[in-house]
């Protein structure tokens, strides 16, 4: 049982590393380079309100 849990943990870590390299990094890069609209992450003085609809 312990070996099974350890194996699952190792595969989980490898899987997450793959997700990071193949999805997270490219997404962050493209966001930085291509996205002019940082949408709700940055301050926008032109708005009257930051309340969002539920």
């Amino acid at each position: 049982m312990k070996i099974l849990i350890k194996t699952v943990n190792v595969f989980l870590k490898i899987g997450l590393a793959v997700v990071y390299v193949l999805i997270v990094l490219p997404y962050r890069f493209s966001y930085k380079v291509f996205s002019k609209d940082k949408c709700r992450l940055t301050i926008d003085k032109s708005l009257d309100s930051y309340w969002e609809e539920k």
Binding site: K13, L41, I43, S49, Y50
Partner: protein
């Protein structure tokens, strides 16, 4: 129908049992494990609340968890995609923990409790809002929830009417008033999710000289109370710290080290962030009033524990009345989740409002009867005396300037000790604040103590706008009770001045975090203060939580006796049994607690 609400895995794990809409029991796990803000699965509390309800786990019809695990995991994953996130070094460990906890939550709950029934999930802010609205005395009201973060939401408002709740609007992560305040808590050298009330207590020692600078650089606050944080200064999204180097640069300093000397600059920063919090809350509340048209307001979420801001809201009279959930933080989410499921999901009616009593919302923990206490004292060989009229005897001791540990009835739910697990003292005594901080609580000398006052006499001592049974509002002392002080003192020297007839509970800005005590809510505690008033003409006593620094509030008679022996308390009252420190075996000074409890 029995519903068990659970909150866990962030901070202050808790469980609450609701049977046919009635709150049977609720408590935080930390009280049982003796580990402050314990975030582990609340197994001990579940056992305790089921015992209180005389139920087995499979008598529970549904277990409701206080947030949606997949939504939360999605938010955490998404935040790594943002370019404002720090490097991805935490991606694997954070996501690994999240996946294990969230994916397996359902089966983990079943397995831990050997439970075969249904498990449901309610959103974090729905839980908060329900914990505020459903137990409130209002048939219909607006609600406002403000905290660190749930799944995505950090702030929400809406209305409740009978058993229905409707959410209007929200502010989403990463813009969060709770995390904004927590960032300053971190910067000032206190623990996040624990030291926020220290920042609040420190604020009156300083001047808000950073107010404009913070408003200009760190936050964009709109007239309607909505806001966004300038994330160039914060690193809590995926980092290990709350603030980054840019934050330090604008204050021209680095974060204060834990346990180092508190400077005037620290106090000025605390004062500034408190003033901004007051301002944001006031603007939000005005907006909620305008948008909802409701006359009453219910507050919950960790920021609702900021009793200075609460006092300001009440004072401005924006709403006719305000009700704040006594366990407004995440612990209260357990209760809210259960109530939301019962009233909103199952559409069950709320009990008539006249039946709602404050006591039913706060004295929800375990209690120990006289037989159990006597057995503990006898078995432990602890000398004691029994008093039929223990309230009068205790009042006599307090009037004689003694410090008394007071243990009575059911333990409080939420962070405040409200007269059932309290350390009591004479508020008229000049040096009592310093002595209790340094000799009893072993905590920072700047921290104020709170007064318990007879409800019907509160207006004679404080500028009260309302009753405050849960110690969640700060009021100013009445001018005629204040003592004019000509000395010009600054910083912690302000502690040296005597500001009122009850100096031990008067903060340096002549305010106090008041608990109003009524006979209906806590008969025994009320009688004690009444007896004290008969002897002294003063209906006010000091009430501080029964613990030392870093320790959760005591739960059992054993915890109370251990805490009593470790401190310089003079007497301990366990229900009607009085224990005199002088009668106890002389022990070498017990400093074990310093290793047992990490400083908060």
């Amino acid at each position: 129908m029995n519903i068990l609400g659970i909150s866990a895995f962030y901070h202050d794990s808790a469980a609450a049992l609701v049977s046919n809409g009635r709150i049977i029991a609720a408590a935080q796990e930390e009280r049982f494990t003796r580990r402050k803000h314990d975030n582990r699965f609340p197994l001990n509390v579940v056992t305790s609340v089921l015992q209180e309800g005389q139920l087995g786990i499979n008598d529970v019809d549904v277990i409701v968890f206080y947030e949606k695990p997949f939504l939360k995991m999605r938010r955490i994953f998404s935040s790594f995609l943002w370019p404002i996130a720090d490097s991805g070094k935490n991606f694997i460990p954070i996501m690994e923990t999240q996946i294990k906890k969230r994916f397996l939550l359902n089966s983990m709950i079943r397995k831990s409790l050997k439970y075969r029934g249904k498990v449901e999930f309610v959103k974090h802010h729905q839980s908060h809002a329900a914990s505020a609205f459903y137990p409130s005395p209002f048939e219909r009201a607006a609600f406002l929830t403000v905290d660190g973060v749930g799944e995505w939401e950090t702030t929400t408002y809406g209305t409740g009417c009978r058993n229905e709740m409707e959410f209007y609007k929200r502010i989403n992560y990463p813009h969060s008033l709770g995390l904004f305040y927590a960032a300053f808590t971190y910067f000032l050298g206190f623990k996040v999710n624990s030291g926020e009330y220290k920042v609040m207590g420190l604020a009156p020692y300083g001047e808000p000289k950073y107010f404009d600078m913070i408003m200009d650089k760190l936050i964009d606050l709109k007239d309607d109370g909505s806001f966004r944080l300038n994330m160039e200064y914060f690193s809590y999204i995926t980092g290990d710290k709350m603030t980054n180097q840019n934050f330090g640069k604008i204050f021209k300093r680095s974060p204060r080290g834990s346990e180092t000397e508190i400077t005037q600059d620290d106090m000025d920063i605390a004062s500034s962030i408190q003033k901004i919090t007051d301002e944001i809350m006031l603007r939000m509340v005005r907006h909620v009033r305008k948008e909802t048209g409701e006359k009453y307001l219910c507050l919950a979420g960790g920021v609702a524990l900021n009793c200075v801001a609460n006092g300001k809201i009440l004072e401005k009279g924006i709403f006719n009345d305000i009700w704040v959930q006594p366990a407004a933080g995440d612990a209260g989410g357990a209760l809210g989740a259960a109530l939301y499921y019962w009233h909103h999901h199952l559409k069950k009616k709320r009990p008539p409002r006249s039946e709602s009593k404050n006591a039913e919302n706060v004295y929800l923990g375990p209690m120990f009867d006289s037989d159990e206490i006597k057995e503990f004292l006898d078995l432990s060989g602890i000398p004691y005396r029994y008093y039929e009229n223990i309230e009068d005897k205790t009042a006599e001791l307090l009037a004689g300037r003694k410090i008394v540990g007071w243990f009575s009835g059911r333990m409080e739910f939420g962070p405040r000790a409200l007269g059932n697990r309290s350390i009591l003292g004479d508020a008229r005594e000049r040096d009592m604040q310093r002595d209790m901080n340094l000799k009893i609580k072993y905590r920072e000398s700047f921290r104020p103590f709170a007064p318990s006052v007879l409800k019907e006499k509160a207006h004679l001592w404080f500028d009260v706008c309302n009753s405050s049974p849960f110690m969640l509002f700060v009021f100013n002392l009445r001018k005629d009770k204040q003592i004019k002080n000509e000395e010009c003192l600054s910083g912690l020297d302000k502690l040296k001045a005597i500001r009122s007839e009850i100096p031990a509970v008067t903060h340096v800005d002549s305010s106090a975090r008041v608990q109003t005590v009524s006979q209906k809510d806590n008969e025994k505690y009320y009688k004690l203060i009444k007896c004290f008033e008969e002897k002294t003409d003063c209906p006010v006593i000091i009430n501080t939580s029964f613990n030392v620094r870093g320790e959760p509030i005591v739960c059992t008679p054993e915890d109370a006796f251990r805490c009593f022996m470790r401190t310089e308390m003079d007497y301990l009252v366990l229900e009607n049994f009085l224990i005199d420190k002088k009668d106890q075996k002389i022990q070498s000074r017990d400093n074990e607690w310093k290793e047992e409890f990490l400083l908060d």
